[in-house]
Structures are given as structure tokens and as C-alpha cells.
């Protein structure tokens, strides 16, 4: 089956991730949305890598995983800190800073 399907899938996943960022209220879910976007991109990278028959894309994908993991670590730490302060992980509760 055509590689294009993979691309379409990855695009859809990416969009879903975006939607999660835009629509979910819970900070951690929002963050999962971002991770989903990253992994959707990984899929695209691997597909392209296959398409072009070189490994750059796959290597890139590995690095993305690493970066994503690191991001998760920092993200969780920050979200938990906030959660401990405010007793809620809703991203809509944090809007003291505005205008």
C-alpha cells in the first residue's frame, strides 16, 4: 500500500494532537497532545526516510523521541509544581497574567 497513507495518517495524528492542545483543559492532557504531535511527525519522518531510501529521517526520529522524553520530564515537573500550588491542573485556571 502507498506510503502516502502513512503521511495522511501522520497528518491526521498531528491534527488530533493540535486539537488536544487547543481543546483539552487539563494541562497534562494538553501536554500529551504536544507529544502526540511530535510522534505524528516521527511517523512522517520515518515514512519519508523510507521513501527516499536514506536513514536520516529515522535518526531524526530517534532524536525526536529523546527530546520528547526530556520535554516530558520538564513538563511534568512544572505542571506538578503548579498543581501543588493551585490544587488543579486546568490550564484555564492560570490566567493571572494578561493584557
Amino acid at each position: 500500500m502507498s506510503l502516502t497513507n502513512y503521511l495522511v495518517l501522520s497528518t491526521l495524528l498531528f491534527t488530533i494532537g493540535t486539537m488536544a492542545v487547543l481543546l483539552r483543559r487539563n494541562g497534562i492532557i494538553v501536554f500529551m497532545g504536544v507529544e502526540l504531535m511530535l510522534n505524528a511527525t516521527n511517523l512522517a519522518l520515518v515514512t519519508f526516510s523510507r521513501m527516499h531510501g536514506n536513514l536520516d529521517g529515522q535518526v531524526f526520529a530517534f532524536f525526536v523521541m529523546v527530546v520528547a522524553a526530556a520535554e516530558v520530564v520538564i513538563g511534568l515537573a512544572i505542571i506538578v509544581a503548579i498543581f501543588r500550588t493551585r490544587r488543579s491542573a486546568s490550564v484555564d485556571d492560570v490566567n493571572l497574567l494578561r493584557n
Binding site: T15, T18, L23, G27, V73, V80, S90
Partner: protein, 120 residues
């Protein structure tokens, strides 16, 4: 692939429609019944807010577990590549990987010294 940029435009369109439509829809039709469970952070299923232990200093053990896990998890991602063509990468690969291991070890030491492993 004909008009390969069409998917991108589609993505754009879909994203825009979903973004605005979704926001709008959830604002209009979405039930506004929040409860603790919904707003709770996910902390490996445990009760997320114990009473402030040590006067407000909260146990971040679970996150330490997560981080420690990641430290080794990531290590594998690269070690695996190195392992499969160990012979071809030769000295350069060896040195590079050792360097990488050292770098990975530093936060591990930090965590250890700061009592990250003193669970229970």
C-alpha cells in the same frame, strides 16, 4: 502524488475548522459538570494531593521514578544503534558513546546525591 500540497492545505483547513468549531462547540454544547476526578492530575493512579508532607514540601518521588526511567530509556535508544554496528563505528563510535554515557551519568549522580533514590 498529484498536487502534494493539497494534504497540507487540507490539514490547514481541518485544523482551522476544528480549532474554531471545536472551541465553539465545546463552549456551546459541552456539559459544564466538572468534578475533582476530571480536573485531577494523573499521578500514576495515586491520590494526587496528600496533606502537605513536611510542611508543603511535596514528594516528587513518582516523577523521580519517571525521570530515572527516562534516563535509562534514552540511553537504550542510542546504545542500540551503537551495539548493532559496533565494529563499523569502531573507535569513534566507542568514544562517542562513552561520552554520551558520561553525560547521562551526571544527572544520575545529581539525583542520587540529592536523595532522589531514597524512596519509602
Amino acid at each position: 502524488m498529484t498536487n502534494p500540497y493539497v494534504p497540507i492545505l487540507i490539514l490547514g483547513g481541518v485544523a482551522l475548522v476544528l480549532a474554531l468549531g471545536g472551541l465553539g462547540a465545546s463552549a456551546i454544547i459541552g456539559p459544564k459538570r466538572y468534578n475533582r476526578a476530571k480536573l485531577d492530575a494523573y499521578e500514576c493512579g495515586i491520590e494526587p494531593t496528600p496533606h502537605a508532607v513536611g510542611g508543603g514540601r511535596f514528594p516528587i518521588k513518582y516523577y523521580l521514578v519517571a525521570m530515572t526511567f527516562i534516563v535509562f530509556d534514552i540511553e537504550v535508544v542510542f546504545l542500540y544503534q551503537w551495539a548493532v554496528n559496533f565494529s563499523e563505528l569502531a573507535l569513534f563510535g566507542f568514544v562517542a558513546t562513552m561520552l554520551f554515557l558520561v553525560v547521562i551519568t551526571v544527572p544520575y549522580l545529581y539525583e542520587w546525591r540529592r536523595g532522589g533514590f531514597e524512596w519509602a
